[in-house]
């Protein structure tokens, strides 16, 4: 089994005024292939930084990342990313967006056309493939972003609050889609979110991070993702254990936020 391992990562940002921010401190994790992990935490806990390091957009000040035994040194097609706002290329049609990865890899159309059409089917955008992406709604754009990521067949999919900008109903549908894709493709998925509910639904493993310095606060192993795959997510939410976990984690994050507020007040006083 190949794994993504995070070995003792620290990240320090030096600010122009001479001070610095410890975004991450001594974070270590081992993520197995096919795992679905959600990451939760108050703002400033370094979860986006962690994702950017995993994607290779940032180099950690200490520690290293290895995927399948080799060290991660920069962005690569083996680690796909889905962004909060889609980050689609609006000068391309839906189909050109989805086939971007294979095309950049120099594959011929006959080699990727089938996969791309299949993925557009899966995300329900078959009839929109020749449309320009700016003609689509926010939810549809995010589905294009998912399909575009999958078309590249990455080993790991990193999602940075991919559903954060969507309305509640679309969001719930998309959560179902993410679960379905995870089950069907067996990809390793790491998903960052602000929503406790989403983290519970979309995480076999749930990582709660704490700020200042950014670190892993607590880790859960949850049954809800398995439960929710191919089922109505609202049923999962009714499970008593779900509500209990949600309360527990919400309280945890609330306490952290309070602590931050308290500290800022002290600093201000």
């Amino acid at each position: 089994m190949s794994t993504l391992s995070i070995e003792n990562i620290s990240m320090r940002f030096d600010l122009p005024n001479g001070s610095h921010v410890q975004a991450l401190k001594n974070v270590s994790l081992e993520i197995k292939t096919g795992e679905l992990m959600s990451v939760l935490g108050p703002s400033g806990c370094g979860k986006t930084t962690l994702l950017n390091i995993l994607a290779g957009f940032l180099a950690p000040t200490e520690g290293q990342i290895t995927l399948n035994g080799h060290r991660v040194t920069g962005p690569d097609a083996e680690r796909g990313m889905v962004f909060q706002q889609g980050a689609l290329f609006e000068w391309m049609s839906v189909r050109d967006n989805v086939s971007f990865g294979p095309r950049m890899a120099g594959k011929r159309e006959k080699d990727w056309a089938g996969t791309v059409d299949h993925l557009l089917d899966v995300v329900g955008l078959r009839d929109f493939k020749e449309k320009a992406v700016y003609e689509l709604s926010g939810g549809m754009q995010q589905r294009v972003a998912l399909a575009r990521c999958l078309a590249n067949d990455p080993d790991v999919i990193l999602m940075d609050e991919p559903l954060g900008a969507l309305d509640a109903l679309t969001r719930e549908k998309m959560q179902g889609l993410v679960l379905k894709l995870w089950k069907e493709t067996g990809k390793t998925i790491i998903l960052i979110t602000h929503s406790v509910e989403e983290a519970l639904l979309l995480g076999e493993r749930l990582l709660v991070m704490a700020p200042r310095p950014g670190r892993v606060h607590k880790e859960y192993r949850l049954p809800f993702a398995e439960m929710g795959a191919g089922r109505d997510l609202r049923e999962v939410k009714k499970v008593p254990d779900f509500a209990a976990k949600r309360e527990e984690i919400l309280t945890m994050i609330w306490d952290m936020e309070e602590e931050i507020m308290g500290r800022t007040e002290e600093a201000g006083a």
Binding site: G56, P75, A77, F89, G101, M104
Partner: protein
């Protein structure tokens, strides 16, 4: 002043007529009709096409009315044209007085005119004749045929019975008569409220001049050659500016060394109006084609550089990240993400640059040129051919507007995603 009042009156009247007359029976229950004006929201206020049509018609109406155009049914009172007369009373040094009549014929400038024929009359002051062009005035040495002249001490003491002294002006039928300091008379016929063609020709004169110039040409070149040369200079100058400016802008957006090196130059040159460079360009390159193209090149260059730079720097970092994590190489990122992402900015710059180039070429031709739209109106103004000047201005305006429409069409076609992200 009167024209302004009339203009405002037509503006207000047509507003009420269109709003409460024409629109009375039309339903206004869509969302936009309920929208209050939101500042900065362009969609909140849409041009009323009726207003645009009436606006253009009004301009022609006022233009025609105050120039005596045949196209317009109503006119402002025109200048007096025809025959009139006034009398003056001459006093001899010995106290004798005698009246004489001046027969005046006012004619349209440019037409041939014959002097009116009059009897000399009785007494020592003899009747005179005077021809004067409309809008002009004419000095009358009334005593040159009189038996007692001013040199001998004769003096005009009254006009049409009204006593006058030197330097005074009196109103007579269809005009005014001024007594000059030396005692001669100066007749000015009534001007009315219309503009003299030499100041503002009526619209049909401009049109007929346009037809004439387009058939026969002007100053050794046909109209189309004049316009072609102006356009040719703009396009070549703009193309060269874009050819250098866009890569330079890209380099400045991508490399800090290029950015640092060219920033002072670009930021310094940007606020210098291209017109200020005309003297220098003439010194360096003369008044030929190369000088004009260099000028337009400089006019377009900085605008294109800055817009290309903004287009590159404006790419969302998440798009760059997305392309990288989809396996794009640096070169592929450039070709498939950065270049297309910068196109909307570049098109905005191109539209501005074309407008500036068109304005600059006309100005440059005003200064020195053998051919071109600007040269045409400059030469025409030296000969007071106001109709050609107006024709040139209208053509320059129409072409400038046409260029902008074409650029917008090209923009919609080439970068349809502009402003829709």
């Amino acid at each position: 002043m009167i024209i302004l009042i009339i203009y405002v009156a037509i503006f207000a009247a047509s507003f009420f007529v269109v709003r409460f007359g024409v629109r009375k029976f039309r339903q206004m229950n869509d969302f936009t009709s309920l929208k209050t004006v939101t500042f900065g929201d362009e969609s909140a206020v849409r041009p009323d096409r009726w207003a645009s049509v009436i606006s253009v018609v009004t301009i022609f109406l006022i233009w025609g009315a105050f120039t005596g155009s045949k196209w317009v049914p109503i006119h402002a009172p025109g200048p007096f044209i025809g025959d009139t007369e006034f009398t003056y009373t001459l006093e001899a040094p010995d106290g004798r007085r005698d009246d004489a009549t001046v027969a005046v014929r006012v004619f349209t400038v440019g037409e041939t005119v014959e002097d009116p024929v009059v009897e000399p009359g009785d007494g020592f002051a003899k009747n005179d004749v005077l021809t004067v062009g409309a809008w002009r005035s004419q000095l009358l040495l009334m005593d040159k045929n009189d038996e007692v002249t001013r040199d001998e001490g004769a003096k005009v003491i009254a006009i049409d019975g009204k006593p006058v002294s030197d330097g005074q002006t009196v109103a007579v039928a269809d005009g005014t008569v001024a007594v000059t300091a030396k005692g001669s008379l100066n007749f000015a016929p009534t001007k009315g409220m219309q503009m003299e063609p030499i100041w503002l020709p009526p619209p049909e004169a401009v049109l007929s001049r346009l037809i004439e110039v387009s058939k026969q040409g002007y100053q050794n070149f046909t109209l189309w050659e004049h316009l072609y040369w102006s356009l040719f200079r703009v396009i070549v100058g703009f193309a060269l500016g874009a050819l250098v400016g866009i890569p330079l802008g890209y380099a400045m957006g991508l490399s800090d060394w290029f950015r640092g090196w060219f920033d002072p130059i670009v930021e310094f040159m940007r606020p210098v109006p291209p017109l200020a460079l005309i003297p220098l360009v003439i010194i360096w390159a003369g008044i030929g084609e190369s000088g004009k193209i260099i000028l337009l090149f400089l006019a377009a260059l900085w605008i294109m550089t800055i817009s290309a730079r903004a287009g590159v720097s404006g790419v969302a970092i998440s798009k760059v990240h997305a392309a990288y994590s989809l396996g794009a190489s640096k070169w592929q990122l450039m070709r498939h993400v950065i270049v297309p992402n910068s196109l909307p900015e570049i098109f905005t710059g191109a539209r501005v640059a074309m407008g500036v180039c068109w304005g600059t070429v006309v100005a440059a031709e005003l200064v020195a040129a053998e051919k071109g739209a600007g040269m045409m109106i400059m030469v025409a103004s030296r000969f007071q051919l106001t109709d050609i000047v107006l024709m040139g201005i209208i053509l320059i305006g129409v072409i400038g507007y046409g260029i902008d429409i074409l650029m917008r069409k090209a923009e919609n076609w080439l970068v349809p995603w502009k402003g829709r992200v």
